[in-house]
Amino acid sequence: MPAILHMQDIEKNFPGVKALRGVTFTIESGEVHALLGENGAGKSTLMKILAGAQGKDAGQIRIDGRDVDIRGPLHARQLGIAIIYQELSILPHLSVAENIFLGRLPRMASMPWIVDWKLCCARARELLKQVGLDIDPLIPASRLKVADQQMVEIAKAVSENAKIVIMDEPTTSLTNREVETLFKTVRRLQERGVSIIYVSHRLAEVKEICDRATVLRDGMKIGTVNVAETTSKDWVKMMVGRDLDQLFPKMPVERGKEALRVEGVSSQKLKNVSFSAYEGEILGIAGLIGSGRSTLARTIFGAEARVAGSVNIGGKEAAIASPLEAISQGIALVPEDRKLQGLVLPMTVRENITLAKLGGISRVGQLNLRRESKVAAEYVQALQISTPHIDQKTINLSGGNQQKVVLAKWLYSDAMILIIDEPTRGIDVGARAEIYGLLQQFVEKGKSVIMISSDLPELIGMSDRIIVMHEGRVTAELAPSQFNEELIMTYASGMSH
């Protein structure tokens, strides 16, 4: 088969991080090609460059044998590249048809400044049929389920005559039935000669749908393999590049007293959630996006309201109505999105570390900057935060170091219970191991960690116990002997055994 796309020696640097170091990547026409790698391996960056969302620092891109210089997202689309992001880019208040033909609605032949709604509707309906969707194209996109919204994006790609469709973690929020529908559509596109780049963590899916797989690690290409001739174990070895034991510094810690008990907590998105966390324990929480995991964390932390239920700390009921009260009870939350929720980016490392405990560096409201610098330097040292100085703005740090600053903030606040949501999202492998080490040290001191993650190897590698959530409920509590990805996914997608 001829190569439809050839990316040669692509390089990309961000401040403090080499995201891509000379990646070469070839896609043949009509193949489904998996792009594998851990968080921070460079998959998203490579795909963003291809989709024109980011520029490259070096390298060439050839499409259909012709050198191209992708100038932006619009140009990429004109070149026949469509990307379907994990966070869908549907405009919820517009109709399905408008979403499909955004920016190029069909016009009347006689009056080209007037939209031909009849034609628009008919064409949209036909395109939707091609992706197996039988809906009225005039309803607002917000009324569709996430899976159907995704299909609308695929229909949009089809309508643009895309030659290459990039799917970034397309199944994260889909049920098994919806995944089947997606795969049918993928095969249909493939038959029409469309190439698909399939970015996913789910190796079973890769096995099922992909022809070849390319593995990236730390911004480098490790290799391209034929899916039929290799096993998922081979890919994992290529992705991780070392034994998993080394990545997860898990050591058994004696389980202590009950540190936190959540009883019957309910809110708009949570339904009667109960569980306990113990001293010296890492409790994992699994679940799909939208299962209520993050809402649960924010509710315990007082950042979202609960309508029923209680939170007990050390055996006593704790009335927590705000993050401030949660912090004073020794709870800390490392939120899901460190840039939007975890850090004050224009502030320095020093200022971020002390933010949750300003009382520790002040007297009657007056800051002791000397003492603050000392505190910050200690934590920068202890957590090996790589920054030129403590007065570096956190916006200039790499993801891993940013996450360490957030952790330092909570370690300084004397938290006893650390809730950490997606601890290593977008962090490179080296820094991940260090963050796991910090969590391990934390529980070794008899404190407790509640770790929410979409990364199943991480959950399995670090947790002492895992609870699984689905649609706001706890659907399972698993002991280490029951830890396996398929079982967790089964409970997470709402199918009980």
Binding site: P323, P335, V344, G365, Q366, S373, E378, H389, Q441
Partner: protein, 348 residues
């Protein structure tokens, strides 16, 4: 773990904290570099163009004139650092000045319904300051609790408070027959050869710098402006801090208003019209970002002086007021454009 502790015992921790002060100064200096250079270039140019510009008397004059706007600009900097804005400062300025003036012994107005009783001068001034603080508190309370845009809330109070001012005065100015000496000193006196408005401005700046750099309140202001959600999740009392910021703004607007009433010997219900423009312009030209979280009081001082020097220079050169508005507008646009360009470069 042991290894790590041993590691930490040595010098590296000290090494990290040692240059902190230097970097801190550099960082702060860096923020003010552009407006400072601009101001110096402006002074040099005007000195060359106009021989009357370069004199102690003229500089004292500039310092006195900018004080009225400058005092308010300090409060506005704090509000803008939280990511907010206050358009009602001109109205608060007027209301506070007419209330204080009407309470001062010897005050006189043609209005039928003016307060009949008077207070000793310090208490009359205090009453005016409290009126300003109350307006600020109301602004802050609505903004913090309702989450309506500060722009809209203070646009509403701007009209509302101006209306109150007209109702209170009946539209007549309040004058003094005669003005008590203490009140006369408040806006017209001199301390160590410096006019009192300038002294008040300097004090407000010093306190403002101390608040923003050296207190937990100031730290919280920067944090909220930098990332409100992260601040809330770090246990910062976001609502209370915002209310305090707007209350302070109101009190400072009142202080300015009362000083001007003393200075011109009358409290006008129309005083302070369009002052919000000058105050916000001073803050923005100094380099404080309207998005919040970035900027400083000292930058604002530079911004206010840039405006003051330009307007003084244009006056000396005999340029009509209408042109001065045009220049002010152009300067404001350039400052905002420059800020957004810098932000783009830093990928914020």
């Amino acid at each position: 773990m042991n290894q790590r502790e041993n590691h930490a015992k040595g010098g590296p921790a000290d090494r990290l904290s040692a240059p902190a002060g230097a970097f801190h100064l550099m960082g702060r200096f860096g923020d003010q570099l552009v407006p400072a250079i601009f101001l110096i270039a402006l002074v040099i140019t005007l000195s060359l163009v106009s021989p009357n510009f370069l004199s102690v008397g003229n500089f004292l004059d500039i310092a006195r004139v900018v004080s009225i706007i400058g005092i308010m600009a300090v409060g506005m900097t704090i509000v803008i650092l939280t990511g907010g804005i206050d358009l009602s400062v001109g109205s608060t300025f007027a209301l506070a000045s007419v209330v204080a003036a009407s309470l001062i012994p010897g005050s006189f107005s043609d209005a039928p319904r003016i307060l009949a009783f008077v207070l000793p001068v310090p208490f009359a001034i205090l009453a005016g300051l409290l009126v300003g603080a109350a307006v600020g508190f109301i602004n802050g309370f609505i903004i913090a609790k309702s989450r309506v845009e500060p722009f809209i809330v203070t646009l509403a109070t701007m009209a509302f408070v101006r209306g109150l001012t007209y109702l209170f005065t009946g539209g007549f100015p309040t004058i003094f027959r005669p003005m008590p000496p203490l009140f006369e000193w408040f806006g017209q006196g001199y301390v160590l050869g410096l006019p009192t408005p300038t002294i008040f401005f300097a004090l407000v700046v010093l306190i403002g710098v101390w608040i923003t750099r050296r207190t937990t309140f100031g730290r919280s202001i920067y944090a909220i402006g930098g990332n409100e959600e992260a601040s809330r999740l770090s246990g910062i009392k976001v609502q209370s801090i915002k209310i305090r910021a707007y209350t302070l703004m109101g009190a400072l607007a009142a202080l300015s208003g009362i000083i001007l009433a003393s200075r011109v010997g009358a409290a006008q219900p129309t005083a302070g019209l369009t002052y919000e423009l000058d105050v916000i312009a001073g803050v923005v030209i100094g380099g404080t970002s309207l998005l919040g979280g970035r900027g400083s009081i000292m930058s604002t001082v530079l911004g206010v002086f840039i405006l003051g020097v330009i307007s003084n220079g244009l006056n000396i050169a005999g340029v009509p007021t209408y042109y001065q508005y045009v220049v002010k507008g152009l300067l404001l646009i350039s400052a905002v454009g420059f800020d957004s360009y810098l932000r783009k470069m830093q990928r914020i």
